[in-house]
Point group: C2
Chain length 211, copies 2
């Protein structure tokens, strides 16, 4: 209980202020525990920061479904791969709308701009696994094996979902909405899924032109 | 000179630590000036924060080219509109690669997640202007006037560029690159431009199905 509270507060505080902008004294006080418990469980501030990164990776979740996608990749059916890509993107979009993602969003964005050892640990979790799966699914969906092309495409798909969190205030302004209600998210998800289809079709056409 | 130094340091410090995480004392010391000069020029911390937001809007730039895009919109030529959309996206991608964007990136992302009055001022600048132009250009390029559909599409295009900054470390990992060199950016820009083409074509097909 104390450890979970410490981690949640650490994610929020480190996210808001960075590793150097917050003291273990402040985190211990906010978690209503003694500073010695941070030393005992995590060895100190750096250890707590890395544990917070592991917790972020855990809360991002998704690892449990990787096996399902690996089966789709092994199956080699382009239509199934296309459906799996859409499912990953929809799921990621839904996940980013959940209130608990606010806690780790700033932590991750800070690491994205100035990555530390913590980013390696986050990427080693669901984030990197999903990236790998997405690239392979794009290869299956387009019937190609150009990993470099698939990676660029994967980033362009990833961005279409990420924007709803990383530029949330801009999205709200553009959509003239105070809050991003489920109907807006559904409309946007439909746009993204149609885009994925259009982009994959274009990639197939590009490959046929080259051969 | 002192004012520019103060603003640059304010953007960086407020970006790193937030409004509440940094004192005017620290900013004045880092800018090698007296605290009284912050009071004199900006009235205090909140005033300096808003001035920093205005400076971020200014550094994002692009306002000078809005008139050019407005002429393309007025012209009503779908091919010209398509070219203009690609030009905006390429330009934005290049801009986000410039080292100076590191200073304001965290400032803006923090505001995106927890917007304050400062976000209104940033959006009132080039950001909001570009968003408006992009939506109108999509209408011209697809020959439609469904603003709601164009707004969703504009967000999905915007995200494809934003990802290279907001998830830069993830992109580097996915592309297996230590740094995002110009050749990688060029390859990615080509992918995004092809995607824009494919998405606009799909939107035209969607419109024809509906009518």
């Amino acid at each position: 209980m104390v450890q979970q509270r410490l981690l949640d507060i650490a994610i929020e505080q480190f996210g808001q202020h960075g590793l150097d902008g917050v003291s273990t004294r402040e985190i211990a006080a906010a978690a209503d525990t003694a500073m010695s418990s941070i030393t005992y469980h995590y060895g100190g501030k750096e250890g707590l920061y890395l544990a917070a990164a592991d917790e972020v990776a855990k809360q991002m979740g998704g690892l449990d479904t990787i096996a399902t996608f690996d089966r789709v990749i092994a199956g080699g059916d382009p239509a199934a791969a296309r459906g799996a890509i859409a499912a990953i993107m929809r799921n990621f979009l839904e996940r980013l709308q959940q209130p608990q993602s606010n806690a780790w969003a700033l932590f991750i964005m800070r690491e994205q701009l100035n990555p530390t050892e913590a980013f390696e640990r986050i990427y080693a979790g669901p984030m990197g696994q999903t990236a790998r799966v997405l690239v392979e699914l794009i290869c299956v969906a387009t019937g190609g094996d150009d990993r470099a092309a698939a990676r660029l495409a994967a980033i362009s798909l990833f961005g279409q979902v990420l924007v709803m969190k990383a530029a949330r205030a801009t999205c709200r302004k553009m959509l003239e909405r105070e809050t991003l209600t489920q109907d807006v998210i559904d409309d946007y998800a439909a746009r993204v899924v149609a885009n994925i289809d259009a982009i994959l079709d274009r990639m197939i056409a590009e490959r046929q032109e080259q051969s």
